[in-house]
């Protein structure tokens, strides 16, 4: 059995009377690009939220690197190695692009108030490292030319890439991208696909929510399909594409079908 | 305190506590309504209340025909006259407080929401000119004249430079409200006959004991307050639940953007919200003067803070919460004062709040103007 970096075990998520996720089971293998797809409202972002600790699952568990994530605070989960971007971009609007990324880099820094007040060696070292790392990531994502601009003034494409840079700055093992191609032109989507492959080749594992089928088919190794909070299919892109349940979920069943 | 004393006064405390709580609750409704719809703490609501007490005072003295400063002499009235005076007073309070709240919204809030318009500009213009004139002269009449002269040109200027379409940061609303609150209280202090002194309100109602209940003598004024408050609250709840405007209020409280898309006139809804809060405060103001026979330029502040605490206690944005919070606070204060001593009375509100928020961070009934269930 391949090395699973993350496994979602029998997770059910209920909000009052609404069941958003129902007995969801899947695993992500180290180094793979896994796609999470499904019609609107299927529970994909809820799944993300459970994995990243935004919600505590009603029942079931999530294991990361063979350690359970239960009871950990969100920032601790991030430090363990799970980072994410958001469906509706959540950058720090009045901070510069490079500052946004530096916040991510700070996740691994130990300097606190004391060190900052006295200007300790560790503070200076970590500041330097943070800046270098931030600029490297901005260059890697191709947006270093606007490093000093406020995040809210950046063009849309830059903002999406900035979010990814910020998430990478936290030094994760698993990168969760929530609809990273929303609003992109086909050319930009191509670039994004190349970027995701480049990220994986650096050693990251990627979990991807996307609606654009060509993107998903083109870049993922495996796909998990959700519908109404349940997993209805898992497998390679071609398998999933031809799976009748998946087709039914997206397109519906013709009235006169048997 | 001996047990006998506790027994003897327990129902006393309960009755007065409920009456006090009713007043808190009415004022709390104003806070909770505005918060539910705008997510803002209307800091100046306390002054709307205070102004209502003065409106009551003035209505009463005019009605009876006695000079303002001699209201302390108790001219009891009975029968029809009594009812008429009481009604006039509560209407007067509600009208003035309601109007004040509407004016407040247009002057101190609307421009910050990016929809500054004429009424706000005019009032601000007058206020600016009037205030500027204070540098030169202390004669009030001159100040008013300069204020009036300056109103037109300044209003035109202000309308030009209002920041349209851009919402100010939330703290700005708070400071604006604080400024308005300060200005109103000080205005009353400076330009009213007795300045910062206490005013006696005419004790029109002879505070006879109405009946006995479990060893306590229940006075008529407490009964009136409790009944009156219940009526006002019922009316409000019916309004919010059954009328079209009330639905609009709930819609805006839930989701402004969607309400806009569905054609709700958000500015008008917000105005109505302030109006409702003001009217409730006005009624509370009349009841306050009925029970306590006095008012002053600064009574708004402490009562406002406590009423806001009551609103939070019950769950901010939740109408029933405001009622419950007010009640809990009124009773809590009375019992607490009896047990710990009167000087700790004002602290009880906050201690109560802290305790509740520890165990139930969204208040006793949780937050929800939006949910239809009151």
């Amino acid at each position: 059995m391949a090395d699973a970096i993350l496994s979602v075990n029998n997770v059910t998520m209920q909000f009052g009377g609404v069941t958003a996720l129902s007995d969801v089971n899947f695993a992500i293998e180290r180094g793979e690009i896994l796609g999470l797809i499904g019609p609107n409202g299927a529970g994909k972002t809820t799944c993300f939220n459970v994995i990243t600790g935004v919600y505590a699952a009603t029942s079931g568990s999530v294991t990361f690197d063979n350690q359970p994530l239960a009871g950990l605070k969100r920032f601790q989960i991030t430090k363990r190695g799970i980072a994410r971007t958001f469906q509706n971009i959540r950058l720090f609007p009045d901070m510069t692009a490079v500052e946004n990324v530096m916040v991510g880099a700070d996740a691994n820094h130990k300097t606190s108030v004391g060190g900052a007040l006295i200007g300790s060696r560790r503070h200076h070292r970590e500041e330097r490292e943070g800046r270098d790392r931030a600029m490297e990531l901005l260059t890697f994502m191709g947006i270093a030319d606007r490093a000093g601009d406020a995040a809210r003034n950046l063009p849309y494409g830059y903002q999406r890439r900035l979010e990814i840079a910020r998430a990478l700055a936290t030094g994760p093992k698993l990168l969760c991208l929530d609809e990273p191609a929303a609003g992109f032109t086909p050319a930009e989507k191509q670039e994004l696909m190349d970027l995701i492959r480049k990220i994986r080749s650096q050693g990251y594992t990627v979990l991807l929510i996307e609606h654009d089928m060509s993107l998903v088919m083109g870049v993922t190794d495996r796909i998990v399909v959700l519908d109404f909070g349940k997993v209805i299919a898992t497998g390679s892109p071609t398998d999933v594409q031809n799976n009748p349940d998946v087709i039914a979920a997206y397109l519906g069943v013709p009235d006169d079908a048997a | 305190m001996s047990d006998w004393l506790i027994y003897r006064t327990f129902w006393d405390l309960t009755v007065t506590g409920i009456a006090l709580g009713a007043i808190y609750a009415l004022v709390a409704l104003g806070y909770t309504l505005v918060y539910g719809v705008l997510r803002l703490i209307n800091f100046a609501h306390s002054e709307i209340f205070m102004v209502g007490t003065f409106a009551t005072l003035i209505t009463a003295t005019n009605f009876i025909g006695i000079p303002l400063l001699e209201a302390g002499n108790y001219p009891y009235r009975t029968g029809f006259t009594l009812v008429a005076i009481l009604l006039a007073c509560i209407v007067g309070g509600m009208v003035v407080s309601g109007a004040g709240a509407v004016l407040l919204e247009r002057v101190a809030y609307r421009p910050l929401r990016g929809s500054g318009e004429h009424v706000g500009a005019v009032v601000l213009a007058f206020a600016s000119a009037f205030t500027a004139s204070l540098v030169f002269t202390e004669t009030t009449r001159t100040n008013v004249i300069i204020g009036l002269i300056g109103t037109a040109p300044l209003a035109v200027l202000y309308l030009r430079i209002f920041r349209r379409g851009r919402q100010a940061p939330r703290l700005a609303f708070l400071i604006s409200a604080i400024g308005a609150s300060t200005a109103i209280a000080e205005a009353v202090a400076i330009w009213s006959p007795r300045d910062r002194e206490q005013y006696q309100t005419p004790r029109v109602l002879e505070k006879k004991v109405l009946f006995e209940f479990l060893g306590t003598e229940v006075r008529i004024d407490y009964v009136l307050v409790i009944v009156g408050a219940l009526l006002m609250m019922t009316a409000l709840v019916l309004f919010v639940n059954r009328t079209r405007l009330g639905r609009g209020v709930r819609a805006v409280a839930q989701d402004v953007e969607t309400a806009k898309i569905l054609g709700v006139n958000v500015d008008f809804v917000i105005l109505i919200t302030f109006l409702l809060g003001g009217v409730m405060a006005g009624a509370a103001a009349m009841m306050f003067t009925l029970v306590y026979d006095q008012t002053r330029f600064n009574i708004g502040f402490l009562l406002g803070v406590k009423s806001f605490t009551a609103a939070v206690l019950g769950g901010i944005g939740n109408l029933r919460g405001a009622l419950l919070g007010g009640l809990v606070l009124g009773l809590g204060e009375n019992y607490g004062a009896a047990i710990f001593g009167g000087q700790w009375k004002d602290v009880i509100a906050f201690v109560l709040l802290l305790v509740v928020l520890m165990f139930r961070p969204t208040g006793i009934l949780g937050e929800s103007l939006a949910k239809a269930r009151v």
């Binding site: 510069t96 700070d106 996740a107 000093g148 936290t170 650096q202 050693g203 | 000080e186 803070v305």
Partner: protein, 368 residues
């Protein structure tokens, strides 16, 4: 040029002030430090400003001692605004009870130097600051988990609880208060006495400068970044690995410490305190000072504190109408300039202009 343009051009000076900071930052080191030194020197000469021709007319306070105003009001309000700015402006936490920490600082000095012991003022100060800090932690720990507006009312309550407790507790002096509080020790030519306010001013100004120095360090570190992130989007910050609760608590504690520090200065100057010196209205005034000046930036806090402390005295001509004028002024400023007098500007990092990528380029870059 239309009316609105005229108006907007009037507000340019404020932008010029923050822009000035950038341009000074761009100067070579020697010039920069000389300018700063000159500026600081002129601050120390403030007691003599009324004697300067134009400046004097502008700032002098007729009817009251200018020295008294800058010592009793301006210095205190500026320090308080700096501390409150950390809480409200940097971390975005609405604290309506800041007067509580101010009172704690003053009362600790009062207790330790007069009421129950006779420690010298200088010894009391660090103790007072630490106690205020602890008070901040005690208040913050249960309440920082609450949503913003709840925090506001709870902190408001805290301020009141402190005041009323001080009023009711005899060991804190009760309503009579504490008198004969120690004064700062005489250092060389500076004699702290009743007649001359100048030594107090110099002391207060020095404290402010030291505070500004340390606060700048914090702002330019991961602590400041964390505060900014928490203020802008707390949930996103936490998901990016920022331990939000820890840093919010630090903001509270540091704010409390500075408030307490201001309290010690106050107590050492007036040497007699009672609960009525710390009313809720003072908390409101403190918040107004921070917001008026412009939240989130230190200059704004300084200007705001100075204005709130100085302006009512400058316009004493209004006599008892001062507070009314203040209220109207607050509304007008917020309506037309809600971001405050000195808006927070997004500072382009100075290091960015000179940054060079590391020698080892190539695809390994992302892993770092």
């Amino acid at each position: 040029m239309s009316l609105s343009d005229t108006f907007r051009s009037l507000t340019k000076p404020a932008h010029a002030v923050s822009g000035l900071g950038e341009r000074i930052g761009d100067l070579p080191r020697v010039s920069r430090w000389s300018l700063i030194a000159l500026f600081i020197l002129s601050l120390y000469l403030m007691p003599w400003w009324p004697e300067v021709p134009v400046l004097g007319w502008l700032v002098d306070t007729p009817g009251t001692s200018f020295e008294g105003v800058i010592t009793d009001k301006v210095v205190i309000y500026v320090l308080v605004a700096l501390g409150l700015n950390v809480v409200v402006g940097l971390a975005g936490l609405l604290d309506l009870g800041y007067v509580g920490f101010y009172a704690v600082g003053a009362y600790v000095v009062g207790i330790l130097s007069s009421q129950h012991a006779n420690l010298p003022w200088l010894v009391c100060v660090p103790i007072a600051v630490i106690v205020s800090m602890i008070a901040g932690v005690i208040l913050g720990t249960p309440t920082l988990r609450l949503r913003g507006d709840y925090l506001a009312i709870v902190t408001l309550g805290f301020g009141e609880i402190i005041r009323i407790s001080a009023n009711n507790a005899d060991w804190l002096g009760g309503s009579r208060g504490i008198s004969k509080i120690a004064k700062p020790p005489n250092i060389g030519p500076l004699k702290f006495g009743v007649l001359d306010a100048k030594p107090y001013f110099f002391l207060g100004l020095t404290v402010i400068l030291i505070t500004v120095f340390f606060l700048r360090r914090l702002e330019n570190s991961r602590v400041g970044r964390a505060w900014n992130a928490v203020r802008e989007d707390e949930d996103a910050a936490e998901l990016m690995g920022v331990p939000t609760f820890k840093f919010k608590l630090w903001a509270f504690a540091i704010g409390a410490a500075i408030g307490g520090l201001a309290g010690t200065l106050y107590a050492g100057k007036v040497r007699f305190i009672n609960p009525s010196n710390f009313p809720l209205q003072l908390s409101i005034l403190f918040i107004a000072a921070v917001v008026l000046g412009g939240t989130g930036n230190m200059w704004g806090a300084i200007i705001g504190g100075a204005v709130v402390g100085w302006m009512p005295e400058r316009f004493r001509g209004f006599a008892d109408k001062r507070v009314f004028v203040f209220g109207v002024a607050l509304v007008l400023v917020m309506v037309f300039r809600p971001q405050g007098l000195i808006p927070r500007k997004i500072r382009k990092e100075r290091w960015l202009a000179n940054w060079k990528p590391r020698e080892s380029e190539g695809e390994e870059v992302a892993r770092g």
